[in-house]
């Protein structure tokens, strides 16, 4: 009943430390940003991300999610770049509008870059539990309160949806018509939005009290129930990746 993408699998990638996976994802994103040709960026996707997804035993889900996440961007990139980018190689003309090959090529390149960036993030979320990722970050100095907010937001969103539905049911039961023209739908919002906000605020107060009672603000270092596995080679791998990333950034952008 949570909004996480995480899928449990007994794979080697899953067993890696969250920070290692985060660093890998970061590396892929930086590489996609730094490389300058479509084939090279596509190679990152096909030769790095796809094999990792296969190793993680989630390849079908990974590919489906990549498509689902990228195609809305592609849908607007291709027409916009195709019609408005600078170029001379005209493929198709209709009145004042002409579709240029250079534009389509730019769109394709941007789309593949997005594919790698969003694909890396997707791969990370599919193979890493958000609370474990947060735990590893907090252990490195990330603020605990921020980490809490991120993790709970993911769990609370579905609760929000359930509550919104309950509110909708209540108001319909009092004669509120929610079907019909736009004016009616807009007028139907106030009786729906206010209980949602007010209820959530009251919930927040109780939650704040509950957290306080569970020593959330207790001074001193926190411990953790789960030990995050960190393979012997992993710290070195992360260090290497970070050096590579910094190297690429220096070479390409400085």
């Amino acid at each position: 009943m949570t909004a996480t993408l995480f899928i449990e699998r007994p794979s080697g990638l899953h067993a890696l430390n969250p920070l290692t996976k985060l660093t890998l994802a970061l590396g892929a994103v930086v590489a996609a940003a730094a490389l300058e040709t479509l084939p090279s960026v596509l190679a990152v996707y096909l030769l790095v991300l796809v094999p990792l997804a296969a190793w993680a035993q989630i390849l079908p889900r990974f590919l489906r999610t990549c498509v689902r996440v990228v195609w809305p961007f592609a849908l607007s990139l291709f027409p916009i770049q195709g019609l408005f980018a600078e170029g001379t190689h005209i493929l198709f003309s209709l009145g004042p509008f002409s579709l240029k090959a250079e534009g389509l090529r730019i769109a394709a390149f941007l789309t593949v870059r997005l594919l790698v960036g969003l694909g890396a993030a997707t791969l990370l979320m599919l193979t890493t539990r958000p609370d474990h990722l947060m735990q590893s970050l907090v252990q490195r100095g990330f603020p605990g309160q921020l980490a809490y907010i991120v993790v709970t937001a993911l769990q609370i969103i579905p609760g929000f949806q359930a509550r919104a539905q309950a509110i909708l049911d209540s108001q319909r039961s009092r004669g509120l018509e929610t079907e019909g023209g736009p004016v009616r739908r807009i007028r139907a919002l106030a009786p729906l939005v206010s209980p949602l906000l007010l209820g959530s605020l009251m919930d927040l107060e109780e939650r704040a009290i509950a957290l306080e009672a569970r020593a959330f603000n207790h001074p001193g270092t926190k411990t953790s129930l789960t030990e995050l596995h960190d393979g012997r080679a992993e710290p070195a791998v992360r260090m290497l990746l970070l050096v590579l990333i910094l190297g690429i950034v220096a070479l390409r952008f400085v």
């Binding site: 609760g159 919930d203 009290i209 411990t223």
Partner: protein, 278 residues
């Protein structure tokens, strides 16, 4: 264990004190029930015993509340956590939302307190057993029933081994079966672990069966204090907005209709009623 002396509290922005001159002393291991009409100050008392009044809910406070020798008003909430547990009505809003399984949810408080990892499994096991959650350790907290969630809230508190546990109408949203589980867990806690339990409740039959002692609040004041059989049978409960069990009502009517002697003690529980009407 709990010492309240002359406690008077008025919430900021209001004129009438929510609590007036409360004197209350609760020993270790006692299960003390607090009853009274809504608005009588029961929730405020819960907050005062756990430090949320005055640290979270601000206002003018006189008198003193101390728990285990520590004065609540001068101890930071963050330092009180772990010593003092609070459970309230809505099981849902007490779930932290930061953990994906019951086991981890229970461990949350221990992690915050910095308890060493090695000590956690035993304490979690204890809490799970006391609250009857065995078998549910790997479930998501959001996949539990209301009664189970409420017991999870209790387990999440008692794992920290607080000296006192304050519960504000914990069974209000639960069905009888769920309520019974909660009361049984509290009984075991007070008797077995010597935890002082303060319980605000409307379900008088349960109070009569499980509580060692009952205090009645009305208009912010403490107007009765004693064993359930005595307090819940007292003559003036109605005017203070406190109800009665049907046993007591039937006995009183029987007395009024001269079917039973007027001097006999009024029954509060089933067993007492059976004796009374034999």
């Amino acid at each position: 264990m709990i010492e309240v002396r002359g406690l008077t509290f008025t919430y900021s922005g209001t004129d009438t004190p929510a609590l007036q001159g409360i004197d209350l002393s609760i020993p270790e291991g006692q299960l003390c029930a607090v009853v009274g009409a809504n608005g009588a100050g029961k929730s405020t008392l819960c907050y005062a015993l756990t430090g949320f009044v005055p640290h979270f809910f601000h206002g003018e406070m006189h008198g003193q509340v101390s728990v285990g020798g520590r004065t609540v008003a001068t101890t930071a909430l963050a330092d009180l956590a772990g010593e003092i547990g609070l459970v309230f009505q809505n099981p849902f809003s007490q779930i932290s939302g930061a953990r994906y399984t019951v086991r981890e949810e229970i461990a949350f408080g221990l992690e915050n307190l910095g308890i060493p990892r090695a000590e956690m499994p035993e304490r979690i096991g204890e809490a799970v057993e006391l609250t009857g959650l065995s078998g549910l350790e790997e479930r998501s907290p959001y996949a539990l029933s209301g009664g189970q969630q409420q017991r999870l809230a209790i387990a999440s508190m008692i794992v920290m081994r607080p000296r006192i546990l304050v519960l504000d109408e914990p069974t209000s949203q639960l069905d009888p079966a769920g309520s019974k589980e909660v009361f049984a867990a509290l009984r075991a806690l007070a008797a077995g672990r010597n935890t002082t339990v303060v319980l605000v409740e409307h379900k008088l039959e349960w109070v009569a069966a499980f509580a060692d002692r009952v205090v009645v609040l009305a208009g912010g004041r403490l107007i009765a204090d004693g064993p359930p059989a005595q307090v819940l049978a007292a003559a003036d409960l109605e005017q203070h907005g406190v109800g009665r069990t049907r046993y007591t009502l039937a006995a009183r009517q029987a007395q009024a209709r001269r079917l039973r002697p007027p001097s006999a003690d009024l029954p509060v529980t089933l067993d007492q009623a059976r004796e009374f009407f034999r």
